[in-house]
Amino acid sequence: MQNDLNNALQRIARKEPSRELFARILAQVKVEERRGVIYARIGVLGTAALLSLVALVPALRELYAEFTQSGFVQFLSLLISDAGIVAVYWQDFLISLAEALPVFGVAGVAASIFVLMLSTRYLARDIRALSRRSSFAL
């Protein structure tokens, strides 16, 4: 009896799952993989946005300080106070204005704003993609 029972237990019919189950499992794995990539990207972009926002404050302070020290504002005000002279010596005026421009300060602020805008744009896109995916049921 024991041998017959053991043999029968070995031969118990095993049910077959549907053919689609394998594809469904792998499809869900792919969705989860993409979701993981999106989460990682959100982390990086969020950090970049935050850092650029934080960096913007000292960049703006530095730009203000450079503007006041470089004489750029004073040169620019000549356009209003001595427009005639500026019109005559416009080439020299432009060169002097360019030399007085606080380039590093402007570059710092522009870079911070550029990174902030770019990272915010892609962050919004990824968050939208995540909310779209979670509305799909597998």
């Binding site: 029972l5 070995q10 799952p17 792998l26 989860e32």
Partner: protein, 186 residues
């Protein structure tokens, strides 16, 4: 990929081989499905639980200890997925069953199983009788039988994946065999 061990496939998956996990699914999908069917008792739910089990395994592969065997680990995940499913499944409340126009009580709508068992026991095929008898066993006893005889897991591996003692597993196995013999003798 067929000659590669399970743990080697896990290593390849973690290194970025996209086909490795698919191979593991192909190897064990039917076995996991049959195992969780013991809890789900219907094909649709068994497929859902199987899918959950493999997703949990995929998520847990980084933490999987490759010095252990993969198969018992996978079945322990499948068991947990089945138990979680059972917890979520709402119990049928007898008070919620609406009475029909004739005023039939719910108890009267439960089919009389005796004729069905008689029909089954008339069959001469021992395997079919064993399968039928198996369905009447508690899930944990069915699980030990299926895992030991069909999936060829040792009692130690079953104890590890079920998080019970070896003696408990052996006791469940003994009780299952005694119950099966009793049912088959009737």
């Amino acid at each position: 990929m067929s000659g590669i061990s399970d743990n080697e496939l896990v290593a390849r998956h973690l290194e970025g081989d996209t086909r490795a996990f698919g191979e593991l699914v192909a190897r064990y999908m039917k076995a996991v499905y049959n195992f969780v069917y013991l809890y789900a008792r219907n094909e649709g739910d068994a497929e859902d639980i199987t899918q959950d089990a493999f997703m949990n395994a995929w998520k847990g592969l980084r933490a999987f200890d490759r010095s252990r065997a993969f198969k018992p680990w996978l079945f322990s995940i499948a068991k947990n997925a089945s138990l979680n499913w059972l917890k979520k499944k709402k119990p049928v409340l007898f008070g919620d069953i609406a009475r029909e126009g004739g005023g039939a009580d719910f108890e009267e709508t439960i089919p009389d199983e005796a004729p069905l068992l008689e029909e089954v026991f008339e069959e001469r095929d021992l395997v079919a009788r064993v399968e039928e008898a198996m369905r009447e066993l508690p899930p944990e006893q069915q699980a030990v039988i299926v895992l030991h005889h069909t999936e060829e897991l040792s009692f130690r591996e079953i104890a590890e994946m079920s998080e019970v003692s070896l003696d408990t597993v052996k006791s469940r196995y003994r009780r299952a065999l005694i119950a099966l013999r009793g049912k088959l003798r009737k």
